[in-house]
Amino acid sequence: MKALSIRNLRKTYNNGFEALKGIDLDVEVGDFFALLGPNGAGKSTAIGIISSLVNASAGSVSIFGHDLHSDRTQAKTCIGLVPQEINFNQFDTVKNILINQAGYYGLPRKLALQRTELCLKQMDLWEKRDTVSRRLSGGMKRRVMIARAMVHAPKLLILDEPTAGVDIEIRRAMWKMMEAVNQQGTTIILTTHYLEEAESLCRNIAIIDQGKIVENSDMSSLLAKLQVDHFVMDLAQPLAAAPQIDGFKMELLTDKSLAVAVPKQSGLNQLFSELTQRNIQVISLKNKTNRLEQLFMDLVDAKTAGSQP
């Protein structure tokens, strides 16, 4: 049994825009799965259909073996959704938001109170339980949405850009929380524009572009496809022009900063050897972009180029 199984899912909006062009996708039980894609690629539409916020035009969605169309109640019971935008009642207290959500899922009051306490403590929000939600900081509001999505103990948690707009400290704290939730057995599907987040948290990945799945594999296999690493080197002495070294593409960013593309088969030793021969001293070296980000851009760019007449 899969946590999520999608077959030939299609969505055409009333204005004729075809957001999904027949996607197939499987997510294993217990997985931490990344669903990535550029803006307008169709990932929000896919998540909207899975979570019953958007009506599909065709295709099927099955959640833990329950068909979303024919076995709707059971399928919905398995899902918890953390949407992109803040969508709770900003005039309600944190505690009431969770208790009401538990009620919608049919949890008796006593159990709802227990689950509310547990989830708020897990998200480090218990002290804020009686605060009216509009008075919370942006990061706290994001955590309220995660706590709300978990209050009925869903088997599948869908996180649609959960860390958008929060600072790095809170983002890293939220990563730890998400990892803990996943380790407790909850399957997680994550969409994010922070590809570092997807690379560090997720085991499997699908990339969606122009309504189609363009890549679907495990993270390590996908990263292994990366043929070229991009680095930025800080130099001890200024250069007038980028050095010409066979097999390496170089670009001078500033007079003391050099961008270099290193093919996997060449490696860094050869590069440093060539630079040393030219009396170029390197002070520090860092990745120009996140590896997944580079791969993502390569895939999307290739797809875009291929679709042009």
């Binding site: 909006y13 539409t45 909207g48 979570s51 019953s52 916020l53 958007v54 009506n55 709707r72 109640t73 059971q74 919905k76 019971t77 899902i79 959704l81 949407p83 935008e85 969508n87 709770f88 009642n89 900003q90 009401n100 959500q101 009620g103 919608y104 899922y105 049919g106 949890l107 008796p108 709300r148 009925h152």
Partner: protein, 254 residues
């Protein structure tokens, strides 16, 4: 899945919402109707004399109460559900395994409770100005309940179809209020010229007000059976329309 708990959750949330803002929801009708009773019922009414065998105060009390029930049952659902849509809180319900009939039932029940509570408040205010006696409790309560249900459903449909805050004020201001004032709240249609009597027959609020008045003082310009049939059939039609709109996701799903 226990839908009873989901239903109860929506109803409690709705009742807390309007009780929490009682200066906006419960106080204004008390003040407005007190002024109606003082000016129309006492100061002017004493000079009007009897209408169809009842004092003018006795004659207008049922209509004023029902007018409050209508406007507040409608206002509660239209403002609450539209705000829920506007803030995207509706997604909390759409994601959860809550059937459409539970969503509809929960919001409509909230509207009914507010409509009846406001009706009770207005009734108590009326008691200050007049010695109110109810001839037929069953008719009085059933018409009040059915009227609140009907207009709560109408408010729900308005909220589902509304795309802006302007859209939720157009019907109350330009349809409900004129129909209420022209629905025989302050006069008997028998006092109108024949042409206006005929036109008034097309006003649904005329039937509701007269059926409710019949429960209070046993006087009606319309057939009570016809009034019940009209209210009942309207409730069925509006329920079906509401469920269809929810099923299609009109205004609430992308």
């Amino acid at each position: 899945m226990n839908h009873r708990i989901a239903f109860k959750t929506i109803v409690i949330k709705e009742i807390f919402r309007f009780v929490r803002i009682w200066p906006q929801t419960l106080l204004p009708p008390a003040i407005t109707t007190a002024l109606y009773f003082l000016i129309f019922g006492k100061l002017i009414g004493d000079r009007i004399g009897m209408v169809n065998g009842a004092t003018y105060m006795d004659y207008i009390v049922p209509g004023v109460i029902l007018m409050s029930v209508i406007s507040h049952a409608y206002a509660n659902v239209v403002s609450s559900f539209y705000s829920t849509k506007f803030q995207h809180n509706i997604e909390e319900l759409l994601v959860a395994p809550v059937p459409n009939w539970v969503i509809l039932g929960g919001y409509v029940t909230g509207g009914i409770v507010r409509g009846l509570l406001v009706g009770l408040v207005v009734g108590l205010i009326a008691q200050i100005f007049d010695d109110i006696a109810i001839q037929n409790w069953w008719i009085t309560l059933s018409v009040a309940f059915l009227t609140a249900t009907l207009f709560a459903l109408a408010g729900f449909i308005n909220a589902v179809l509304a795309e802006s805050f302007d859209d939720i004020s157009i019907i109350p201001n330009f349809v409900l209020t004129p129909l209420s004032y022209l629905g025989g709240v302050f006069y008997s249609v028998t006092m109108l010229p024949p042409i206006w009597q005929t036109i008034s027959i097309g006003n649904p609020i005329l039937y509701l007000v007269n059926a409710f008045r019949y429960g209070f003082i046993g006087i009606s310009d319309v057939d009570i059976g016809l009034a019940y049939t009209m209210i009942g059939s309207s409730i069925v039609i509006m329920t079906l329309i509401s469920l269809y709109l929810l099923h299609k996701g009109t205004g609430i799903k992308n």
